[in-house]
């Protein structure tokens, strides 16, 4: 199992999408290869949903929920922040599992972008 020390990658604030992207890039490649990871949040102080959405939520785009559950371990995440983590996972599983909803959403956004 590969230990990923989040503090080493993004520092004590896990709040922005940019920070989340850095974690995503590391974790995604490991999971695609079938490797398990331990996301260690020791020394991280502040958490917000944009970070979790960008780092974890996006993983469900091409990582099956069962594989995520099997391959991803989380350590040193306080219960209050674990709740946010779990909510992101729940939302993401729903979003990426409903292909019809997702395609309709993406089509709408494409149309809006073209209309600008």
């Amino acid at each position: 199992m590969k230990k990923i020390e989040i503090y080493t990658i993004v520092g004590e604030n896990c709040i922005t999408r940019t920070a989340g992207q850095k974690v995503y890039d590391l974790v995604h490649s490991e999971l695609l290869s079938g490797h398990s990871v331990d996301l260690d949040f020791e020394k991280v102080r502040v958490f917000a949903s944009p970070f979790f959405n960008a780092s974890i939520g996006r993983l469900f785009e091409d990582i099956a929920p069962l594989d995520f559950d099997r391959l991803v371990k989380v350590s040193n995440l306080a219960p209050a922040n674990m709740q946010v983590f779990k909510q992101v996972i729940q939302n993401s599983k729903r979003y990426y599992s409903d292909k019809g909803y997702r395609e309709a959403l993406d089509a709408t956004l494409r149309e809006q972008a073209q209309a600008k």
């Binding site: 604030n13 917000a48 219960p79 209050a80 946010v84 956004l109």
Partner: protein, 286 residues
């Protein structure tokens, strides 16, 4: 030739009528106006008013007008407040700010993560006002961050985000107002759902639901998280955007469309928290 508009302010607090008053000021300032803000009749200004006035001034400038504050018309109390929180010095007055019960007036044209975190931690959640464990302080900052992230991600504000706060020791309350003069929550939700006539109040409630977002990708959690935090910790959050209004408190979650009042095309969050650490609960402990 520019139209001169002299706005004579009255006392402004944070009742609903005060927000209507503020939004109406915006409607009095046409493009290219030369605006003068007169404080002669104003003996009290809450942080929502300060943040809004600052943003209004920048919006007027952005729209090729000018906005001057007649500092000579300030009452001593208002002068002290606006000087302390840095509003006077930001707009050319010759008084440097100082630390006190004010939470500084702040303008963010771009996202300054470290700056904003430092602001929330040292200027808003000052140890002098409220004693929190580091864990609780970090938790609260993470929740309030959702307001700023929402504004930078969605508002499309051409002039940035404006904040101001205040500590009220007698009420044991901490307030923070965050304003943007962007497109507003209802605009984004209506466009996303292709429902131009969607009620503004409903649009705001939609934005506060977990999983809803107008951006692609699995997002849409921030405002829902903030809502839970407010309710658990007996705070109060008001949101104004277009004619939409949202109120979240311990016992209340209501959204409405206020059709007979001045509209505000941007978004204004008005947050009130209790200063007693005993009020605070981490979500995990509920």
């Amino acid at each position: 030739m520019a139209t001169t508009v002299r706005l004579s302010l009255r006392r402004i607090s944070d009742e609903l009528s005060d927000f209507d008053y503020l939004f109406n000021l915006l409607h009095q300032c046409g493009e290219g106006s030369a605006v003068i803000i007169d404080f002669s009749n104003c003996n009290f200004l809450t942080p929502n008013a300060v943040a809004f006035l600052g943003g209004l001034a920048r919006l007027i400038e952005y729209k090729s007008g000018t906005c001057d504050f007649d500092w000579n018309t300030l009452s001593p109390a208002v002068r002290a407040n606006l000087a302390q929180n840095g509003f006077v010095s930001t707009f050319g007055g010759a008084i440097d700010p100082w630390d006190g019960n004010s939470v500084p007036y702040r303008e963010d044209q771009t996202l300054d993560v470290d700056g904003l975190l430092n602001y929330l931690r040292t200027k808003w959640l000052d140890d002098y006002r409220i004693h929190l464990s580091q864990e609780l302080e970090d938790y609260i900052i993470g929740k309030v961050w959702e307001i700023y992230d929402n504004a930078f991600e969605h508002s499309q504000s051409p002039i940035g985000i404006f904040s101001c706060g205040q500590y009220y020791p007698q009420k044991h309350e901490l307030k923070l107002a965050v304003v943007d003069f962007g497109v507003g929550i209802p605009y984004n939700v209506r466009k996303f759902r292709s429902e131009e006539t969607l009620e503004a109040g409903y649009a705001i409630s939609w934005a506060f639901k977990s999983g809803n977002t107008t951006k692609s990708g699995s997002r849409g959690l921030g405002l829902d998280i903030l809502k839970d935090f407010i309710r658990i910790n007996k705070g109060r959050l008001e949101v104004f955007s277009h004619e939409g209004y949202g109120l979240i408190s311990k016992d209340t979650e209501e959204y409405s469309s206020r059709l007979l009042t001045p509209t505000f095309e941007g978004t204004l969050f008005n947050l009130t928290l209790k200063c007693d650490a005993r009020y605070y609960h981490l979500a995990s402990s509920t």
